[in-house]
């Protein structure tokens, strides 16, 4: 750390309260931010982390409490917060996809010529400088829609640090990044710390806390729980404070031996970037699919499910050829896909829990096209019990926490009684408590003889949960391992394509995966 902690904090929040529609989301939180310090905010989804930071950034007006900047009490809107040196890198990226990177960077502070027209040369020069600062390698003339999520985020960060803010807030910045992009992000955070910026970093991930944090503050249910210096912030200490109870084992161990092959994918591909891929999953088996973001895991799952059309290869369920290339056909054959983005692809946010739960299985709760509302209630209540969802069944899904939304989505697909269950990032943006519940449900489903394929970017999750791991890289399956004494490093080497030093123990498979 380049700069000593100054005795006076840059930002002093006292007793911040924020309510939405009468619901207290942030409840009397105090927080001090110091120059040159990375302050991690940890807490389950819905703990109030993002809301608290949006109050600081002037997006929300606090209902009570004070904000002091450099000892001076202030009240903010978005513009004055910016002028005061507070920059927020949003969780949802605020990028205009139709504009170039340079135009995105200049948005709201367009450079003009003496005549008042846009100064395009100055805009581009400035954009190049900003991109260089964040280590971006793409040109400033690129249209934003052609960038990956990670690259778009670099644009967002470049924009945020352009004015050398006093306080820089990252809201779960690594959620959709590949490992390489995360490394670059860490470098940026460390440079900003060295430059004396006070940094707030919201995250769920323990490894990030260990790598970055100087202090960790835990919030729970909108309340301040504790601020820990990093030396005392062990993962156990943080998790215990986040959930208010210790989590024993997230994963269950003994799973009975797998049965017959249920999902048999052979040479499946989209004719372009994905495949040919062959993979077998047996009844009662949980197979994990690892790989970098963009390695084609989601695309593969969509091909199996018929959400996108396969150009090559076959899918067999219980030995029977799946001829249809639509989600409807795949569902009829017993395939369920819990998609990556529950908000875009999974749930109808404006509908109730009950309506979402039965959405993929209307046939079983209706007669002659007429819904039997008693059946809907029964099904929904049994799912609420199974999943541990306490919210009432008529509640709109939009109002649920990420964890409960994911449970509703899982319920919807379990209601189709699948033989094959594919889960794409089933615990993304889900708090620790809900994660444990979801793992338990996956284990229970597998125990009933369902073939399960889990796609995940969290290797500890895969290593804890699955029987076998297959690795994808650049649209192909490049490795498969039984999950015995497997290390994250071994899997990552294949995901990155780094020549392995232990090839003998980790067989690389070009065509047929182990089964």
């Amino acid at each position: 750390m380049a700069i000593e902690n100054s005795p006076r904090p840059v930002v002093r929040l006292r007793g911040i309260v924020k309510r939405f529609a009468g619901v207290t989301v942030v409840n009397g939180v105090d927080l001090d931010l110091f120059a040159g310090q990375v302050h991690v905010l940890a807490g389950e989804n819905g703990a109030g982390k993002s809301t608290l930071m949006k109050v600081l950034a002037g997006i929300h007006k606090p209902d009570a409490g004070t904000i002091e900047i450099d000892g001076e009490q202030r009240s903010f809107d978005v513009r004055t917060a910016k002028v005061a040196g507070i920059a927020l890198v949003h969780q949802e990226l605020l990028i205009a996809p139709n504009l170039s990177v340079a135009d995105n960077l200049a948005m709201g502070r367009e450079y003009r010529t003496g005549l008042g027209t846009l100064n395009r040369r100055r805009t581009r020069e400035r954009a190049r400088e900003q991109l260089a600062r964040v280590g971006a390698t793409f040109p400033e003339t690129e249209r934003a829609e052609h960038l990956s999520t990670g690259q778009q985020q670099l644009v967002e960060i470049a924009r945020s640090i352009a004015d050398n803010p006093k306080v820089l807030i990252f809201d779960e910045p690594s959620a959709a990044l590949s490992a390489r992009e995360v490394a670059n992000l860490f470098r940026i955070v460390e440079e900003q710390r060295a430059a004396g910026t006070a940094i707030v970093y919201i995250t769920h991930r323990m490894d990030e806390i260990e790598k970055l944090a100087d202090v960790v503050t835990v919030l729970r249910d909108g309340k301040f729980v504790e601020t820990l210096p990093i030396a005392e912030a062990s993962p156990e200490a943080i998790v215990t404070r986040m959930v208010g109870r210790p989590i024993e084992a997230l994963f269950s161990e003994n799973r009975p031996p797998a049965g017959e092959v249920v999902l048999d994918v052979s040479d499946l591909g989209d004719g372009e970037n994905i495949g040919p891929i062959s993979l077998e999953v047996r009844a009662g088996e949980v197979v994990g699919m690892a790989g970098l973001v963009g390695s084609g895991r989601t695309e593969f799952a969509r091909l199996v499910f018929g959400a996108d059309e396969a150009k090559t290869g076959t899918v067999r369920i219980d030995g029977e050829l799946l001829r249809s290339t639509s989600p409807m056909g795949a569902m009829r054959a017993g395939v369920a896909l819990v998609p990556e983005s529950r908000k875009d692809q999974g749930l109808v946010l404006g509908e109730s829990i009950a309506q979402n739960v039965v959405m993929a299985s209307f046939g079983s709760v209706s007669s002659a096209g007429v819904i039997r509302s008693r059946a809907v209630k029964k099904v929904t209540d049994s799912e609420r019990t199974r999943m541990g969802i306490k919210s009432p069944r008529d509640m709109k899904v939009r109002q649920l926490s990420g964890g409960n939304q994911q449970k509703v989505l899982l319920s919807k697909w379990l209601q189709t009684n699948p033989k094959v269950l594919i889960l794409d990032e089933p615990t993304r943006g889900v708090d620790v408590g809900a994660k444990a519940d979801i793992y338990a449900i996956i284990n229970a489903i597998a125990a009933k003889g369902v073939a399960v394929l889990v796609i995940s970017s969290e290797l500890p999750e895969l290593l804890g949960l699955v029987d076998r791991i297959v690795v994808m890289r650049e649209g192909r399956l490049v490795a498969a391992f039984p999950n015995v004494d497997l290390t994250e490093e071994a899997v990552m080497q294949h995901a990155f394509g780094v020549p392995s030093t232990q090839t003998s123990s980790n067989p690389i498979l070009s065509k047929k995966a182990l089964s």
């Binding site: 998609p339 692809q345 404006g350 309506q355 959405m359 306490k390 008529d394």
Partner: protein
Amino acid sequence: MSTTTTAPPSVPPVGDARRSAFRQFLDRSDQLGIGVALVLLVVLMAIIAPYFWSVNNLLEVMRQVSAIAILAAGGTFVILTAGIDLSVGSALGVTAMVAIVLSSADAPAIVSIVGALAAGAVIGAINGVFISRFALPAFIVTLAALTFLRGFVYVGTGGTTLIPDSIGYGWIGQDSILGVPYAVVIMLVVYVVGWFVLNRTVFGRQVMAIGGNAEAARLSGIPVRRVIFLVYVISGLTAGVAGLIVASRLESAVPDLGTGYELNAIAAIVLGGTSLAGGRGSLVGTFIGAIFIAVITNGMTLLNVQSFYQQIIMGFVILLAVLIDRLRRGTAGD
């Protein structure tokens, strides 16, 4: 709320559950604003124009609005899927023209009735095919239909008023049963059936799901294209019903019959709290919205407001009603 919560009250309230009651009230009160406004309006009218509050006048208000309200019922299905049907005014013109042309050829009443309904369904099917199968924007397809269907009305009527010697279904638009005009009865039947389809059938729930999140609906195995096709058929069918009511009342077809009705229907839908973005709204709201428009029109007539000024006032009333609705919901957060 009518829900049962399994969590015992002693458990500290989970954030989700605690939010529910208030938010659900707000969610369900989408029609509340316009409903309250309607009540106030009716009270106001009853005070300043005593004749307003007479059974005859109230039934007349309902009869006058029946065609628009029926169009709006079909249009609600379309808008709930985040679509739009601009062609219903012209479609009404076509179906009325078909009924009258058939009558002119001395066809029996039942043939005219079936002919008009079939014409409506076919028009809806044409819209639906272009929108669902060829994935053209609904706005453009139905705007084109608005134009070419109007052309058909001119062709069919020869550009003049077409008056058959007699029609066998004049009762639809002119007679009453137990003092209630048939047109009003038909309107109520359309709404009851529509409400049942929307709220109690798989199809209705699929409409809501598609409007709320089309991609999630597709990945849930919902036949998205078929449902979208069908909502336009429904919209065409309701145009047929409305066309019959208008034709039977006038016992004739005029070339510009139904011009502009689509905008009144959409106004009724929006006033009723249905979101043009799809997925949120109800037929109850649409019904109240339609009655609201009818009461204002009727009230201004009773107060001898000139028809030119009526238009100006109506435009601003719609703007104001939607603005109030937005402000009211804006306070709910999000």
